[in-house]
């Protein structure tokens, strides 16, 4: 009854978000920037933003998250943040010596109207950027899109500043992994390696936000896509953009800027989406799929077949980010589950809804954008109670209040570990998701079983 303030009755809201199912762009940009090796994300705004994003990512990853801020004051907001940023760039290279600074804006600097390209050029001109060092930026107004948009924008910023077409095509494929976990990025790389394909995957936060305890504090952990790799993405044969919302912008720009053709795929969550990724990779690189991957696939299919009776027609409601929801809905429908509700705070457009509709049927309630918040999700779930909900940590209130089995999925997850290390993409990731879903459903069956029907063999 923590959420006693959620009435079942819907009231049309005009101007209000209650318990948001999204957050703002800069945190996504910061996360993306961490996916460059030796990069220090920089928040061009007041201190609080940077602190909040760092705290948020620290809670989610339980790892140190480094980022700097322009520390806006009242002055900056009147006279513009140019001085702050130039000073910041100077200080950062002096003190923290990163390879690259990745600047993102905030609602503040956006509203002021700071011209980041110009400021960075100025810093360059004034010699504040040491030789061999790089500063890139992207615009991430907090009052547009969501954290996913911020991720997409920073990825696009990487292309914009770094990707070069040297005129010499390389035997390599770009993969834009989307706003996924470091474990997922590592798994996508492993799959490509199994296929013997050289890939340039960026951003790549594996080894950055899930780094080992080795007795030292590393300002720049071992992981991340190197500048050289990202530069060379302009010479790649092809780009696979995983997830339209998070990866399309960068892929498009790579095409426009460097002539690298691209294809947008769903995030490789679940069987079919992984099939699609592997199939695309196979075709692009002209390789054959090795037995190892076929075995992984077959194991996933096998488990689905084994456990079908526990999945059949189970009703499920989802909240999260568009790219995740799309792939997840496909997977769940392939598991013979019925999707009742899908809610994302990120405005994802008609294309999203149309794609989703293939997997969820006509009766499913889809909400996106303004007022598509967790309050609305809670109301939906109250009206028609599913057997399972999937979504971020905030869903725990709803799971408790409505007594519904719950699997943590997406961002943020503040109260459990695992997502940092175990992928949910690929066939193995599908197995993991399946294990979690089955665990939640079967634990509930066990809990609710009458004593006489409490079962040993399930």
């Amino acid at each position: 009854m923590l959420l006693r303030h959620t009435p079942e009755q819907f009231v049309e809201r005009q101007a209000l978000t209650i318990n948001p199912a999204k957050t703002c762009q800069p945190v996504g940009a910061m996360y993306a920037a961490l996916g460059i090796h030796g990069c220090l994300p920089h928040s061009h705004g007041s201190q609080g933003c940077c602190a909040y994003h760092r705290s948020s990512l620290t809670r989610h990853y339980r790892d140190p998250i480094m980022a700097t801020t322009s520390s806006f004051t009242e002055g900056a907001s009147v006279f513009g943040g140019q001085a702050n940023l130039v000073e910041a760039i100077n200080n950062i290279f002096t003190l923290y010596n990163p390879e690259v600074i990745a600047v993102h804006t905030t609602c503040l600097s956006e509203t002021i109207g700071d011209d980041l390209s110009q400021i960075i050029r100025k810093a360059q001109a004034e010699g504040k950027i040491p030789p061999g060092k790089t500063v890139i930026h992207t615009n991430t107004p907090s009052f547009k899109g969501s954290h996913v948009t911020g991720f997409a924008n920073m990825t696009q910023g990487m292309v914009s500043y770094l990707a070069e077409n040297t005129g010499k095509r390389r035997e390599q494929v770009n993969i834009l992994p989307g706003f996924v976990e470091p474990s997922d990025m590592a798994e996508i790389k492993r799959i490509a390696t199994e296929l013997k394909i050289k890939t340039i995957l960026f951003p790549d936060t594996s080894g950055v936000v899930n780094s080992p305890l080795d007795g030292k504090f590393h300002m720049y952990p071992r992981g991340g896509a190197t500048l050289e790799e990202i530069r060379s993405s302009g010479d790649s044969q092809f780009t696979l953009a995983l997830g339209r919302t998070a990866s399309l912008a960068a892929a498009k720009l790579l095409d426009t800027k460097c002539g690298v053709p691209f294809e947008v795929l769903d995030l490789p969550i679940g069987l079919r989406a992984t099939d699609a990724l592997i199939d695309s990779l196979r075709k692009i690189a002209g390789v054959t799929v090795p037995e190892s991957l076929e075995v992984e696939r077959g194991q996933l299919v096998d488990v689905i077949s084994d456990m079908q009776q526990y999945l059949y027609r189970k009703k499920v409601s989802l909240a999260g980010d568009p790219d995740h929801l799309l792939a997840l809905a496909q997977f769940l429908s392939d598991l013979d589950m019925e999707i009742l509700h899908v809610v994302t705070g990120t405005p994802a457009g008609a294309k999203f809804e149309n794609s989703l509709r293939q997997f969820v049927g006509e009766s499913c309630e889809i909400k996106q954008g303004a007022t598509a918040d967790l309050f609305a999700f809670h109301q939906l779930v109250k009206r028609e109670k599913p057997d399972l909900i999937l979504g971020n940590t905030y869903l725990k209130y709803i799971a408790r209040d409505e007594d519904i089995p719950y699997v943590r999925f997406g961002f943020p997850i503040y109260d459990r570990m695992g997502h940092q290390y175990f992928p949910i993409v690929g066939y193995r990731g599908g197995l993991r998701l399946l294990e979690k879903i089955l665990g939640a459903l079967m634990d509930r069956q066990d809990r609710d079983a009458l004593e006489e029907s409490f079962e040993l063999v399930m």
């Binding site: 303030h5 209000l16 999204k22 940077c50 140190p64 923290y96 780094s211």
Partner: protein
């Protein structure tokens, strides 16, 4: 070797006992480009007002400010939990261009009839300051229409530091205070200021006062209630914990209602004891004094043996402290001493120069003092000083762990009450648990 920025050199100090020239630079904005652990004005206001559980807290701004502060703090309520909902006007591009007053008005008029809060706080965020919404006017209008206090909190993020946010919050609270004069004022009555009831700490402290015969008129910021705050001026003493955040309000109340205040800390044995004694002495009532003596004696006797046990095991360990407020830092240095642990490094986000002087006096020769530090400095000094334990908050925790250093959370995310006598016991246990965790055996650099 890592350098300290020229500009920051005066914010770092290695203690020498006899140092007449000590002048810690502090109380200044973080440098542009530093990995500061500090937050913003909004953060300060939000943290202070958050525990008012039966108020509506509406964040007027883009969604992020509301999202990042949604129930991340364990400020417990014994009743209503409206404060744990996240309400935001979720300003979008349209409002940035055309202004957000309409949306704000609309949001408030949708919310208040639905949730019937006792009051509403409306937090202005960065952008609201820029687009020029007249938040106060909207609040006045809604207050008039809905018949509850609707209080603007001027917490635009860039308009200063977290401290300014505290001030804005104090200002907002002061608008509630004095609105209810019904009933008799208690003879021996206090307000608790600046305790946030994290992990139920306020409940602990209140229980002490109850036992002492001191009535708590309001605890504004811990398990807070609007009606209590409205009556807060009926108390005859303000007891201020977390001095950084609430001294401003105490000053205001002193001016406005002539209520004196005392700055105290409930962390550690001495500080808790002297806090209670100070309050008791203030009222100069023999019964209260006697009860206080009895309470303090009993509690110390209860907890000391266990603490002595930990001390025997922990003696000689070295700690680093990096917390938000400096007053807490004082207490921690003393509390650690009780456990045989020396403080090799101590710093705060918001200390002032007086605070640092006190700290200097309190600390051993060689202890490093830092103001508004960053991870690089922090880790460097922890390594240099071979520190075994860090006391800090969420952003410091993984830094300590990566270095194989034990950690105790003394910030919003602490899970056990660390205030009061019981809190000292919990603190000792936590410190002991982390310092003695077998996991450090597996850190490459700290096989112990």
């Amino acid at each position: 070797m890592i350098e300290i920025l020229e500009d920051r050199k005066t914010q770092v100090y290695e203690n020498r006992r006899e140092d007449s020239a000590f002048a810690m630079t502090c109380d200044k904005g973080s440098l542009a480009g530093s990995v500061s652990q500090r937050a913003c004005v909004f953060c300060g206001s939000r943290v202070v007002l958050y525990p008012v559980a039966d108020a509506l807290h509406l964040v007027h701004g883009p969604v992020g400010c509301a999202a990042y502060t949604w129930d991340i703090r364990g400020a417990l309520s014994s009743g209503p939990e409206l404060h744990r909902m996240s309400f935001s006007t979720d300003l979008r591009e349209k409002e940035v261009i055309y202004g957000g007053e309409g949306k704000l008005y609309c949001a408030l008029t949708e919310l208040i009839p639905t949730y019937k809060p006792r009051a509403a706080f409306v937090y202005a965020t960065c952008i609201v300051g820029l687009i020029g919404d007249d938040v106060a006017a909207v609040c006045r209008r809604v207050a008039a229409e809905q018949g509850i206090p609707v209080i603007p909190v001027h917490s635009e993020g860039f308009k200063g530091t977290k401290k300014d946010g505290y001030a804005a919050a104090c200002n907002a609270l002061s608008q509630l205070i004095g609105r209810d004069d019904a009933g008799a004022a208690p003879e021996i009555g206090i307000n608790i200021l600046g305790d946030f009831n994290v992990a139920g700490e306020t409940w602990l402290i209140k229980e002490y006062y109850r036992e002492m015969g001191v009535e708590v008129v309001s605890c504004m910021t811990g398990d807070g209630r609007v009606d209590e705050i409205r009556r807060a001026h009926r108390a005859s003493l303000n007891v201020v914990q977390c001095s950084g955040s609430m001294t401003a309000l105490a000053e205001t109340m002193k001016e406005r209602y002539g209520i004196p205040y005392k700055r105290v800390s409930y962390f550690g044995i001495e500080d808790t004891a002297s806090a209670l004694y100070e309050v008791a002495r203030h009222f100069d009532d023999p019964t209260v004094l006697k009860k206080t003596e009895h309470l303090v004696r009993r509690e110390i006797n209860r907890i000391l043996p266990e603490i002595q046990g930990y001390k025997a095991v922990l003696q000689g360990k070295k700690a680093a402290i990096y917390v938000g407020g400096s007053f807490k830092a004082f207490s921690l240095v003393k509390a650690l001493r009780h456990l045989g642990i020396a403080t090799a490094l101590v710093g705060s986000q918001t200390g002032n120069s007086k605070d640092y002087e006190v700290l200097r006096q309190l600390c051993d020769e060689g202890t490093i003092l830092v103001d508004d530090t960053n991870p690089l400095e922090l880790s460097r000094f922890m390594k240099e000083k071979q520190v075994d334990l860090l006391i800090g908050g969420v952003k410091e925790r993984p830094i300590a762990y990566k270095m194989g250093i034990a950690f105790c959370d003394h910030n919003h995310e602490r899970k056990t009450a660390l205030a009061g006598f019981e809190g000292m016991l919990n603190f000792s246990r936590e410190v002991h648990a982390s310092l003695k965790s077998p996991v450090w055996r597996f850190s490459p650099t700290r096989k112990s």
